[in-house]
């Protein structure tokens, strides 16, 4: 357990993407990554966690060696005290910024002596204030004891409930609500969840949905299945959802395969990936190429370039950058990708037209957007195209229930998410009447034609000016 924890290091994509600066860089592909499912289950120095608080709100936190994690009114604790403990189980803040695994009794609370009494109604309880036998002083004393770790939180709450004069007259529903309220008020139990694409999706969908293009977890799950995402495959991706979709792909690939990202600007904004606590090797599957470099730019023309420096180190870096860019472009032109994933504010139809030639036959294109209207034209395009079959436009719908375990009746939650976005998908096909069997001519936007041989396992790029 300890060894595993010590192996963990947090690393951002920026640092892991730097390659050896000599000659044509080998784009690293990590094939023999150890099974990391178990490794990540333990909290280590610099681990990120999605901390779920008693209020059910979540907070994205990095556990640094010297940091004190502040949960607001729920208290604070020294991060290092959790190193070596598992993620995803409840811990309790007590005493002076101390922390320990929480008693399992906290979960028993919501059911205790709440047998069903159907007769009780809330008719006569409206507008009546709660009557409590304990004095405020007594309650404060118990709170202090609980904080010091002398009284378990569940006992505190149980005592308060038992001393409520109105509690018995409440309906089941009101009782459950009452306990939940007290729990939120007194409990200092939190769960540091191990970040995953799902966890990040749930966290940001609540906390800052715009950051992830309002992509909801069920919709994300549909994208992965529709795209047949698996370890060892090679994907093309345009991810303007902060990197959430990239996170999901990386997680399902676990270091095997390849992801080529097309993006705006010179650097790729897939910030969220740093929260996944992945070993650096995992990041090797990720490569990125800006849209503006799909064809060679003048600044890659080293021979005719005005160079003001004579510093060899800088010149090496320049050479390296140019060669890396060329290698990535060659990777794209080689084609034969196993899936194309798009979340973008740009015209979806143009992106599909530009990138679908690089998809292998019978591979899916999957597009997500929070606005259906932005995909309607592309849907018609895919449905009418000879290059695609099975075009579909869907919306995922999800409903969560309140369950009888919460000591009141069973029904769907009274509030739900209105929308989790829309998915457009289709499967790339090879229409033999328009495509030669052995080679297919790929029309690139600026009029150049790249011929891609698809007879062997290796796509060979042959560029004609």
């Amino acid at each position: 357990m300890v060894e595993m924890a010590e192996k963990m290091e947090v690393d951002t994509p920026e640092t892991t993407q730097s390659e050896t600066p000599e000659g044509v860089p080998n784009l690293p592909s990590a094939l023999d990554i150890p099974d990391i499912v178990d490794d990540g289950a333990i909290i280590a120095e610099n681990s990120w966690a999605i901390v779920q608080m008693p209020s059910d709100n979540t907070k994205l936190v990095q556990f640094k060696a010297n940091s004190v994690v502040n949960l607001g009114k729920f208290g604070s604790f020294h991060a290092k005290d959790l190193f070596g403990y598992p993620f995803d189980m409840p811990y309790e803040v007590y005493g002076d910024k101390q922390v320990r695994p929480a008693s399992m009794n906290i979960y028993a609370l919501d059911a205790f002596d709440l047998e069903t009494e159907e007769g009780t109604t809330n008719k006569d309880l409206v507008d009546r204030r709660e009557a409590q036998k304990l004095s405020q002083v007594e309650i404060e004393q118990m709170k202090a004891d609980s904080l010091k770790g002398q009284v378990p939180v569940e006992n505190l709450i149980k005592t308060i409930v038992e001393n409520s004069e109105t509690f018995d007259k409440k309906t089941e529903f009101s009782k459950a609500k009452y306990i939940k309220r007290k729990q939120k008020k007194f409990s200092k139990v939190f769960t540091p969840r191990r970040p995953s694409a799902r966890g990040l999706c749930e966290h940001f969908f609540k906390d800052n949905p715009r950051r992830i293009c309002e992509l909801r977890v069920d919709t994300l799950s549909q994208i992965l299945t529709t795209g047949n995402v698996r370890s060892g495959a090679r994907y093309l991706i345009v991810d303007e959802a902060g990197g959430l979709l990239t996170c999901a792909l990386v997680e399902r690939m676990q270091g095997r395969g390849e992801i080529l990202q097309l993006h705006d600007h010179e650097t790729n904004n897939v910030d969220l990936i740093k929260h996944l606590n992945l070993p650096p090797s995992i990041h090797n599957v990720l490569k990125s190429l800006p849209w503006t470099r799909l064809t060679p730019n003048d600044d890659e023309d080293m021979e005719n370039m005005l160079i003001r420096t004579t510093d060899e180190t800088r010149l090496d870096r320049l050479r390296h950058r140019i060669l890396t860019t060329r290698a990535k472009r060659a990777l794209l032109y080689a084609g034969g990708f196993d899936g194309l994933f798009i979340i973008s504010q740009y015209d979806i139809k143009e992106i599909i037209e530009t990138l679908s030639p690089y998809l292998a036959g019978s591979r899916p294109v999957v597009v997500y957007s929070p606005y259906k209207e932005t995909m309607l034209e592309s849907f018609l395009h895919l449905r009418n195209s000879r290059d695609f079959v099975n075009a579909q436009l869907t919306e995922s719908w999800i409903r969560e229930y309140q369950l009888p375990t919460a000591a009141s009746g069973t029904h769907p939650l009274m509030r739900m998410s209105g929308s989790g976005g829309y998915i457009l998908s289709a499967i790339r096909v090879i229409d033999c009447e328009t495509h030669a069997a052995t080679a297919r001519r790929v029309r690139v936007k600026n009029g150049k034609v790249a011929e891609v041989k698809s007879t062997g396992e290796e796509g060979v790029e042959q560029e004609h000016a």
């Binding site: 109604t121 705006d264 799909l294 005005l306 320049l318 950058r321 504010q345 530009t354 509030r415 929308s419």
Partner: protein, 337 residues
Amino acid sequence: MTTTTTAGTFRAYSRHIALGDTVIAYSSPKTITYITVTADGEFCNSYGGFPHSSMIGKEWGSKMPSKTGKGFIYLLYPTPELWTLSLPHRTQILYQPDISFVTALLDLRPGVKMIEAGTGSGSFSHSIARTIAPTGHLYTFEFSRDRYEKANLEFSEHGLGDIITIQHRDVCVDGFDMSDMVDAIFLDLPAPWDALGAAKRAFKRKKVGRICCFSPCMEQVLKTCTALKELGFVEIQMYEVLLRPYDVRKVQKRSFPKLGDAKKGNAGAEKKRKAAEAVSDSDVPGGEKTSGEDHTTTLHVPLNEELITSKPQAEVRGHTSYLTFATLLPQELPVRR
């Protein structure tokens, strides 16, 4: 050609606001309250005062500035639905989607005689009265004395006294004390099964009757269905109805950054080429850090190309209640001619 005002705003549409009318003071979809117009009253909100006297004679729907001129309200006619939205939530109210659907499936229309229990805030009672007036009648029952008194007063103030009869009664214990009288019954009770026997007696014996039980929890539904079945109700059906409200906004259509644009010399690429040519200080592979929001330098965005988009509101109502409907066939077969 135009309707005449009867006693009480709620009975029929009128054109102008009169003394004693209930007026909906509408500031925004979320800020709706009601006013009963008195001779010397004044409605106040954070923008100032709105004297009742200035409301009288105004056309319904008029925009009224506050005395200070800082703000305004719209003086809206009190439809049952607006009135419901204007209520301080004394108790759980029925929402419009449920009200509408129940009204349709109980076949409510002018002339229908009907039972409602409990009255609650009287919100559905107002809707029912609107639909069954002028020839129908609603018998409504309320267990809580407070709510009974409040609703009773409101019905008469709103001119609905001849359409609605309210009684203070625990129908689960004491029944309705009605037989062979009604076409339709609506039960919003925690334990509707206790009132179903009395409900059956209240239906017209020679007519087909329709009943609806409104229950938030599945456990209640299961128990209600069993009871309905045992009492001989048929065509038992259960539904949920929800409304999904949409937000609409225009988005800029962004054209995809053209391949090879860098060569053709658009401003952004030009800038970058120069930066690259210089290879002086900012020579990190991958170059300049640009903020995620600033796309303008690298893109060709054709101006004024807009797309109207819509999407469901982020958080919506996920559940109100299960609506269990059933039919009671005639208990006496009518004599054939």
